[in-house]
Symmetry: D3
C-alpha cells in the first residue's frame, strides 16, 4: 500500500482538479439519465414490438391486452423519469419542475402513441432485409440475429425523441446500438421505409443525412460531412448527404457533404469516394484504381510486401 | 401517467398489429433458441479448449478427466436442448418430436467428437497469430486477448453446426463474435488452417467464401458478393471469393464475387478493390490513387478542407 | 445423452491434447490477470476522473477527500493484485515473490501519482471533441456518450502501464475499449494532447505510432505497418507512422509505415492510402478515383450491379 | 490436492451408494418442484394481494386491470409448471401427461378464483393483529413487518393447494414461512377467520389441528399430537387439538391430542401443558408451579446456580 | 391457461377489493421504506463497527479515515432517504416536505454521532458473551458467529431510532434480526450494558421491558405482557417487566407483567413462569413440577406414550 | 448531509475506538473464513449427497463419476482455502504457512474420505424421520423440505471438522443451520444414528451432549447446561446431558446438566424440566402442573386475563 502522505497528495491534487473545473459535477440535484435504465427501456421496446422473440414469458399471445397494458405502463414510468432527468441536466432549459413534469408526460404520450406505426415500419425493414440478403434463412433469423435490424430498430425510436429535443437520451440509445453493432446512426438522421444495412460494422450515418425509401447500404459506408473545421459553428447546418429512394451503396463507400445527392435508383459500387451529387439512375463503380499487379518473385524490394 | 383511454388505444393498436402479422409470435409450443444459453455454451467451449485461461477453478490440470467429463456432460445437455428448440422453430422441418430428439443427439455426438481436432486447429491459429504479429508478446496474450482469435474460435464451432443444417444457432454464435469483435464471419464460410485476422474490426467473410491454409487478413477486409440484387434467388449460389493458400490481404481491401480467385501466395495491399481473379504469386498494390497534394495555404476554397 | 464410451473417448482425446501442449495451462501457482477485475478497475478510474457521471452515489461533490481516499485505496488494492498476477505469468520475469510485490507497489505509486495530470489531459480531449464535432450538444454528452473519448480515456491509463512493462494488463484494457468502441489503440502508441476520434469504428493505431497534439481522426482510419512478413523479428522496430501536430485524417484513410510522417497541419481527405511521407501543411485528397458513372438502363450486364 | 487414487476411491464409494439406494435420484424425466420458483410465486402473491407494499413499481393503483392481468397470467404459468412437476414426482399418481396437464389447469383455475376471498380473509387477519397488539403502530406496519401475518398469509394459500392434494408444494411453501418466521403451520391445518399469532417463534400447528374464528396465540405455542409412536400408521388420523372460537393461548403453552378441545372463549395462560379438553369459557392458568425462591447467599450449593 | 373470461373475472374481483379498502395502497407519492435498503444499512453498520470481520476489502486498518468517511457518507445518504420515506408514510405527520428533510437530517446527525459510544457498548456485549459462554472459543467467534450478538447489535441501533419516533424503520430492523436469529427484541425495550443472550431462539423482549446491566438470558425466555385483551388501549402503558442488574434468566422461562420486577442479582432457573416481582438476590427454581415417572412396561395405556 | 466538521468528528471517534481495541482488526495478512464460501460448501455437500434433489443439472445419474470427481475437486479446493484461513486466524496456532497447508490437506483428505459413510448415516436419519412423522408423505419430502434433516445434515459434517479442531468453520456451519431452522446443534455434540428432530424451532443441543441411536426430539427441547456461572473455566468440562438409545423427548422439555443421563428407551413428555438422571425405560410426564381452571365470568379480576 502507498503511504498516507502519498495518498493524501494524490487525493488533494484530484480534489483540486474537481474544484477548478465545474464539468466534473452535475449541478445540485441534477444527474445524468441512467444508462442502465435506458438500455432497459430499449429491451422493453423489443419485448413489446416482437413479443415472441424477446419476451421470455410468452404472455402476449393469448391475451395481449394485459401483457401490453402492463409493459407499457412500466415503460412509461421508466422513460418519463429519464426524460425528467435529462431535462434537469440540460443547460438553460429554463422551465421549472412542474413544467418539466408536464412536458415529460406530454412527450411520453406522443412517443407511445407512435408505437403502432413504428412497429409497422420496422416490419418493413425486416422485409427489406429478407429481400436483400440471400444468406437470410428466414425473417425470424433477421428479427432475432441481425445487427443491422437492431441498429435501425433503436434508431427509429431514438429519432422520435430527437425530434422532440430530448437531450442525451436519443444519443445514449444510438450509442448503445453503435457499441453492439458497430453501426453509428445519429438519431437526427431522417430515414425512410424499407431500410436495410447488411453486416454493418463501420457504417456511419451523420446527423443531417436524409435517406429515402428502399435504400440498402453495406458495412463501412460513411454518409458523412466534408469538413468539420468550423466545429460548433456548423451545428444544425445540413452537413451530410441526401440519398434518394431505391439507392444501393456497397461496402466501404463514402458519400460526403450536405449538398451531395445520390439520385433515385442509383447504385454505388464498393470503395467509392463521392463528394458530389450523382444523377438518378446512375451506376457508380471504381473501375480502375490503377492497381499494380507484380509477380511476387520480383527482385525489386517493396516495403509493402517484404 | 397517460390516461386509461390513451393506454387502451395504444394497446389496441399494437394488439391489432400482432393479429395482422403472424411473425410476431412463435407457433404454439415453439420458441427461439435461448441466446444466453448459446453464449453460455460458447463460454463452456472456451473453458474446455483453454482451461488454464478461461476456467476459473483451474481444476483440469491435475485430473483433467473429471473436469472434462463434467463440463462436457453439462455442455451436451445445454446444447442438445438448444438444438431441439431450433428445430421446432424451423419452418417445415417435417419431423416429429422423437425424431427431433434423436436427430439432436446424433448431431451432438458428431459435434462433440470433433472437439479434439478443432482444438488442434485452433492451436494452429494461435501459432499463425504469433508468427504474424510483431506486437504479440506471447501466445498466452493471443489466447487471452486477441479478438481475431475469438472470432475464429467461435466460427470453427459454428461452422460444424452450419454444415449439419442446424437453424439459427450457428448464426447466433457468429453474431455474438461479430458484436464483440466487429468481425463478421458467416458460419457457412470454409476456412483452412493457420488463419489469422489482425485487429479485425470491419472484417466481413461471406457465406460461400473459401479460404485456404496460412491466410492472413487485416481489419476492414471484405470477402463479399458482387451484387445481391437478386436477393433470395441467390441463396446457396457461390457469391463470395476463393482465397488460396498463403495469401495475405491488407487492411480495408475488398475482394468480391463468387468467381474471383486470389491465387496461392498472393499479397493484396491495403485499400485494394478487386472484382476479378488474381493469379498465384501476385502482389497487388494501390500504387496511384491519383492523390492530389496541395498546400494548405492555397487560395482556392475546397469543401473538403475549409 | 451420449454413451459412456463416447464421452470417455472425447475426454481422453482432449486430455491428450492438454498433455501434448503446455500452453493450455499456466505454470503451477500462476494465473492470468482477472479480466473482470481489470474492467472493474477501468470503471473505478471513470468514477474517480468524472465522479458526477459515473459515480452513482454522488458523494465526491461536498467532501471529495473521503470519496477519493476510499476509492483510490480500493483501486490500489485491486490493481496491485492484478499486476502481481501479470508478473507471475510473465515468462522469464526472473524476480522472486518479494521483489514482485515491491515492484508492483512501486509501479502502482507512480501510476496513481499520474492521475491528476491524466485527468487534465482527458479534459483537453473532451475540449477537442467539443470543438471538432458540430453534432456535440455539450461537453457532458461527450463525457457520457462518446466512444472515441472512452477509447482515449482507457488508452491514456493503459499507456502508462505499458511504459512500465506490465505484461497483459495494458492490452486487456485496450482490447476492452476495442470491443466496446471498435477503436483499437495499441497501448504502446504515443499520443499527444487534444486528441479526438470521431465515430471511431474501425480505427487502428499501431504500437509504434507517434501522434502529436491537436490531431483529429475519423472512423476507419488505420495508422499501421507496411508489411508484417518478418513477424516477431519486427518486434520493437518502429513500424507505424508519425502524425505531427494539428493533422486531421478523414474517414477510412490508411497511413502506413514506420518512416511515414504526416507533416504538421496537414489534412488527409477520406479514403486516402498513404505509404510515404507528406510534407507539413499539405492537403491530400482523393480527387480522381477513376470512378465510372453509367446509366442504370445500360444494356451491358455488369456483375457489380446485375 | 488429494491424489488421483484418493479421489477415485471416494468417487467410487459415493457412486456405489447412489446405485444401492434409488432415493438419491428422481425417476427418468422427473424432478422436484423448483424451490426458487415457489418462493417467487409467494412473492407474486404478496404483490397481488398488497400491491402498495410489495409491488415495487406501484402500477396497480391507477389502472389495476393491466397490473393484475399481467401478474396473474405470469403467476399462472409459473404455478402450473410447478404443479405438473409435483405430480410427475408423486409416486403412483397413475395419470398420464395430458391428464396431468388438464388436472394442473383445473386446479390452477380453482386456486386463482379463490384469490379475492383469500384477500378479504387476510385483511381480517390484519385487523385481528391490530386489535390484539398494543405495540402495533398501524395496520401498514402489520402488513409490512409482522412475521405472524406472513406465516398466516402463506398458510392460507398453501392450505388450498393441500386440500387439492398437490404433493410437495404446500409443504415447501409453509417451510419457507417456517424458516423465515419460526412459525410452523402445517398446510393441512384448518384455521378460521381473524387469526393472530404474536411474535410467533416456535409456534407449531399440526396437520389435523382445527382452529375457529378470532383465535389468538403467542410464541412457543404447540398445537400438537400426543404420541407419534405409531408413525405412518397415524397418517390421516386426527392427532392434533381443536381450538374453538374466541380462544387466546399465551406463550409457550402446549395443547396436545386429537380429541383435546379448547372450548369457546377460553383463555389459556402461559406455559400451560394441556392434554385434555377444557370447557368453553375457562381460564387456565399455571398458578403454582411449586417455584422455590431461595436467597442467593444460601450456603447450600446448588448446581443450577453455582 | 385459463380463459379470458376467467381471468377478467378474477381481475375484476381483486380490483374491487382494492377499491373497497384503501389500505392496499399508499397515499399518492408515498411509499414504504425500502426493506432491502434498510438491510443494506444494517450491513453497513456492521462494516463500520467491526471492519476486520464484515468489510471485505480490509481498507480501514491502515488509513481508517478514508474508509470511515466514505462509508459514513454513503450510509447517511441511504438512511436519510429511508427516514424521509418513513415520515411521508406516517399518518398525521403534519409536517411539510422541507420540514421532513430538515428533521431527517437532524435525526441522522444525532444518530451518527452516537456511533462511537454504541460501538463501545457493543464491545461490552461481546465481553459479556465471552465471559458467559464456556463454548465460546474466542471473542472473534462471538463477533462473527453469535446470533445473540447480532440481535443485540441491531437492537442497539434500532432503539435510538425508536426513541426519535421514526416510524417503521426500527421495527423493520429488529424484525430482520428476528427472522435471522429467532430473537424478537422490540426496539422500544430499554437494555443496559453487558447484555448476553445465549442460543436465543424464541426469546421475546417486549416494547416496555427495562433491563439493567450485566443481564444474561437464554433461549425461549419471554419478557412479556400479562394480558393484551385491551389491545390498542394499552399502547404506551408499561406492560412488560423490569429486570434489574446482574440477573440471569435460564431457558424457556417467562417473566410477565409491567409491574413485575426481578430484583438485582437474582437467578431465574429454567422453565419458570413468573408473574409477580422477585426480591433482589433470589434464586428461583422449578423444583417440583410434579413430574411422574413410570416404567415403560406399565400395563396402563397412556396416550402420551402409546 | 452533515457538515464536514460533524463527519470528521465522528470519523475521529470511531478511528480512536479502532486504535484502542485490537479486536476490530485481524492480524496482518489474516482474515476470517468467508461465510459465503462456507455456505457454498454446504450447498455443494447437499448436491453430492442428494444429487437428484439439489443438483440442478441432474448429471450424476448416468455417469456419476464425472459429476462426483468434478464436484469433489471443486469442493476440496474451496474447503482447503477456508481451512487455511481459519488456521491463520486462530491465535497461537504456532505453525508456519507450509505446515498449515499440509495440515489443511491432511484434514481435507480425512474429511472427504468420510463422505460415503456420512451419506449412509444421513439416509438413516431420513428413515428415522419417515418412521417418526405421520405427516411425512414420502422420504423425498423429508430430504427436500424438512428443517430437522437439514440441521442434522449440516451437523454431521461440521462435527467431523470440530473433532479435527478446525477453528470457526464448524460453528459457522451450524449457525447457518440455526438461522435457517431455529435448531442450534453445537458441532461438538456427539449424536448417534437414526436421529430425528421434528419441527425443531428452539431446539438447543449443547457442546458436550451425547446422544445415542434412535433418538427423537421435538421443537423447543433444550439439552443444556445447568449453570454457566463459571464461564470460561467450564470450557471442555462435560456440561450437557447424555441421552441413551431409543429415547423420545417431546416438545419444550429441558434436560440439563453434564451428569444427567436419560436412560435407554425412556420417553420424556412435553414441557418437562429435568436436572437429574432418569432410569432406563422410564416415562416422564408432567401430570399435574397445578393448573387452575376458573370460569371466565368470574368476578375476581385477574391480571392474566383482564
Amino acid at each position: 500500500m502507498f503511504s498516507e502522505e502519498n495518498l493524501n497528495e494524490i487525493v488533494a491534487n484530484i480534489a483540486e482538479n474537481y474544484s477548478n473545473e465545474e464539468l466534473f459535477y452535475m449541478k445540485e440535484g441534477h444527474q445524468m439519465p441512467n444508462r442502465s435504465s435506458i438500455i432497459h427501456i430499449i429491451m422493453g421496446l423489443r419485448e413489446i414490438m416482437f413479443p415472441g422473440y424477446f419476451d421470455k414469458e410468452h404472455l402476449g399471445q393469448s391475451m395481449p391486452q394485459f401483457f401490453l397494458g402492463h409493459k407499457l405502463s412500466n415503460l412509461y414510468r421508466e422513460l418519463a423519469a429519464q426524460i425528467r432527468s435529462a431535462y434537469y441536466q440540460q443547460e438553460k432549459c429554463g422551465i421549472n419542475e412542474t413544467e418539466i413534469r408536464e412536458q415529460a408526460d406530454k412527450i411520453c404520450l406522443e412517443f407511445f402513441s407512435a408505437f403502432p406505426s413504428i412497429q409497422n415500419l420496422i416490419m418493413k425493414d425486416v422485409q427489406a432485409a429478407f429481400d436483400g440478403d440471400p444468406a437470410a434463412r428466414s425473417k425470424e433469423e433477421i428479427i432475432f440475429c441481425y445487427p443491422g435490424l437492431l441498429a435501425i430498430f433503436i434508431y427509429r425510436f431514438a429519432h422520435i425523441l430527437y425530434l422532440k429535443n430530448i437531450p442525451f437520451i436519443p444519443r445514449i440509445m444510438t450509442e448503445y446500438a453503435h457499441a453492439h453493432t458497430g453501426i453509428d446512426i445519429n438519431p437526427g438522421a431522417d430515414i425512410g421505409e424499407y431500410f436495410f444495412i447488411d453486416h454493418g460494422t463501420g457504417v456511419v450515418i451523420g446527423e443531417t443525412t436524409k435517406i429515402g425509401n428502399n435504400v440498402k447500404i453495406y458495412q463501412g459506408v460513411t454518409l458523412g460531412a466534408l469538413s468539420t473545421r468550423s466545429g460548433q459553428l456548423l451545428r444544425d447546418v445540413k452537413r451530410h448527404p441526401t440519398i434518394e429512394d431505391n439507392v444501393t451503396i456497397y461496402s466501404n463507400s463514402s458519400i460526403l457533404g450536405g449538398e451531395t445527392v445520390i439520385g433515385k435508383g442509383s447504385v454505388i459500387g464498393g470503395n467509392a469516394f463521392i463528394t458530389e451529387s450523382i444523377p438518378a439512375g446512375s451506376r457508380v463503380s471504381v473501375k480502375n484504381q490503377e492497381i499494380t499487379i507484380t509477380e511476387k518473385q520480383s527482385t525489386k524490394p517493396d516495403s509493402l510486401f517484404d
